[in-house]
């Protein structure tokens, strides 16, 4: 199973790749079933990621207002 830490963009791009293969019709049934399962799995992982609500804001400690630091 895909972990949460995997890059959203990477997973999303993979899903889009699978979808466009299906759209083009260039896929065999046996291969297609594997890709289909992977596609649904990716969609589920991504949907779960979408449910995250909190953004984390951190203040950079370096002081840009002081030229010597």
């Amino acid at each position: 199973m895909t972990t949460k830490k995997e890059n959203f963009e990477k997973l999303f791009t993979e899903l889009e790749g699978i979808v466009s293969k299906f759209e083009s019709g260039l896929i065999e049934l046996d291969q297609g079933l594997k890709e289909f399962e992977r596609g649904l799995e990716l969609a589920q992982v991504l949907e779960k990621r979408l449910k995250e609500v909190e953004n984390k804001v951190s203040e950079i400690k370096k002081k840009f207002t002081n030229p010597d630091v």
Partner: protein, 361 residues
Amino acid sequence: MKIYTVSEFINVTSDYLETGLGTIIIQGEVTGYRISRSNLVYFELKDEKSRVLCFGLTHEVSVSLEDGMEIRVQGLSKLFKGTGGFHVRIQEIEPVGQGALQKAFMLLQKKLEKEGIFSEQHKQALPKFPESIGLITSRDAAAYKDVLIRLDERWGGLDISHANVGVQGLVAIPQIVRAIDYFNKEYPVDVLILTRGGGSLEDLQAFNDEKVIRAIFSSKIPIIVGVGHERDITLSEMSADVRASTPTNAAELVIPHQRDIAYQLEQNKNLLVRSIENRIIDYKSVITQLVDRVGVWLGSIQQDLSHQVHLMKSLSPQATLKRGYSITLKDDKVVRKISEVKKGDSLTIKLSNGEVVSEVS
């Protein structure tokens, strides 16, 4: 009394002026502006009664100048070592008044355009789903809250790092430059947002400053710059990878809305399910067609066979006998010619339903 050498005297006087007066700011009109040996900037600052020479290096003078502009020069009073000439060693230059600012803006825009700083080919694409964002703005600016609120509305799980810098006036220049530099060298993030609210040309000076523009242009991290209201356009925005019209708009450009992506995922799932179903239906119809074709083929073979059987039946000797023909046999051999029999021979005549034995007379 101490006797100085000329160079000693110039050194002492220069130091005396520099430390005695400290950093000074003088306002006046530029005249005799020139660049010599490609990197030395000279001009005089004048008012109705007097003029004074100003000197600096091109890379330190980030405002583009032209004779007649009203400016403020911040610098130190010094003497040239060789000639002993008095001058102001330039630290910062600030155009004064709308006219001078406008002029400086146009001159710099023209210069940077020639260099291709604003050209599309240098623009980097933003990541579609950044996970870490560097936010460069003042904590006290409305823009800071505007960006965070809009980001919260759109996406969750983002790692936002805020670099607190001034965004107002000239003091902001080195701070913004250092922040961009810091992210690029020591604090990697997926994308940078540099932003502030709207203001007058004077307020937005840092965003029209050559050092800031070059820092944005050189940033290896893709950068969105959004300043003020829709109508405020700064050179910083033009040199950014993506220009946002407002701070809020910057947040909208940096990350899509969760809702839209959720919808897209739903669409993708539906498409996958639909196309796999269609694929199965396709296969089913191919199989049905095959079965049909085999049926037709079998039928035609069957027809062919019964035709053959019929033909064979019609050609059999039995069928011929039925039609009234007979076969004459002598000693179990078929008699074909009259010369094969003689008087007194016993012949068997085969009819359709029996035999007649006869004698040749």
